[in-house]
Symmetry: C2
Subunit: 226 residues, 2 copies
């Protein structure tokens, strides 16, 4: 047991990179820092890990406290532990990224923190190493979306192919051929067409699709060529 004595203990926090999708843009939920220094600077939402919870649980709690959502797609990105990453005090931070449906979040709750959705390709200056946290998360999101329909977590339950394609275009910051994209996704065999059309975004109207029940969003095939 001597191994465990006289070892330094650390404050451990979680920081959440919260992705949303709105107006054909990938967005991040950011908060103005509430205290000095750099008060008012924009920041990821975070919080300290508590005595009786894991980092995963802490991240879920933070997400619940700030968006009112539970059972959210959440995944660990990396842990940041540089000595001076937080000029206040030594804090080791475990970073998570989350995918949420913006319109399902509790708008009042979000506003009460002064939070704002920012397009990922037009972010404000972020405190500390938060910019790096965002970039790592973005990389992981892109990597995951190659072999998983993970992005669906950002759309409504039912969606058209155009909506799905625009989402992928936002994630990869490039365009996809509409015909080829449709064929590729359909070939995965995980979507089903509903007997319902969306007529607000095109003249002809486009069928809604949704994920088949009891199907995994991780697919064997590659959706995007790397």
């Amino acid at each position: 047991m001597s191994f465990y004595l006289n070892q330094t203990k650390f404050l451990v926090s979680v920081d959440c990179v919260i992705f949303g999708y709105e107006e054909e843009q990938l967005k991040l939920l950011l908060y103005p820092r509430a205290f000095e220094p750099v008060k008012g600077s924009w920041s990821l939402m975070g919080g300290f890990v508590k005595e009786l919870e894991s980092a995963d649980e802490a991240a879920n709690r933070v997400l619940m406290e700030t968006t009112g959502l539970s059972n959210i797609f959440l995944e660990q990105v990396s842990t940041f532990s540089e000595l001076s990453r937080d000029p206040f005090e030594r804090v080791i931070s475990v970073v998570y990224f989350a995918l949420i449906r913006i319109n399902q979040s509790d708008e009042e709750l979000v506003k009460s923190h002064g939070a704002k959705w920012w397009p990922v390709n037009n972010l404000p200056k972020l405190i500390f190493d938060h910019r790096e946290m965002v970039e790592k998360s973005m990389n992981i999101l892109q990597q995951k979306a190659v072999s998983s329909l993970i992005g669906i977590e950002l759309l409504q339950e039912k969606f058209t192919f155009m909506q799905l394609r625009k989402l992928y275009e936002a994630i990869y910051q490039r365009e996809f051929d509409p015909g080829n994209f449709r064929k590729k996704i359909l070939s995965l065999g995980v979507l089903e067409r509903l007997n319902q059309k969306n007529s607000t975004e095109s003249k002809k109207g486009a069928y809604y699709y949704r994920l088949k029940p009891n199907v995994r969003i991780e697919v064997l095939d590659r959706i995007v060529k790397i």
Copy 2:
């Protein structure tokens, strides 16, 4: 500053998944646990993060203390923070994986800890959640090797195509066509042939190759099809 008060602090450790390559097998360096309970059970090498070091630095230190090596390929895998992952006490562990050249390690130092190299497909029972740490590391190694000649970190500076191929076969636990493998790797343009042959492993003798100086092991192309 009130944010920082009354927050629980945690013991933070690093655990290192140390990969080596020997006798055409991918191996892991494991240590018999030195204290009760589960004394003698096999374990990854780890240590607590100290007050004035980052987790990265702690991992490098642990690696130096156990193998005598510095400047090693080392990469963060994930952080494990479940409440009861260590039955002794609450410890949050940041896991790293390392790639080393077995014959360059300090054999005396390794032996002095009672450490042993185990083939990855024939590991003993590991303590706590170390098995899961190994599996995550293995996944990341496979993923990285797709678009990087990362595996070279496990070979000598000069190597034949057969040696490189056998290494890849060990990493992916499958066979590669010798001719196609050679062409694929050569097409990356990052290896150079030396005027020197290895005659111990074949009758005809095979040229040694090495990584070109000032070249990145991350390549744009995909080496292994996923």
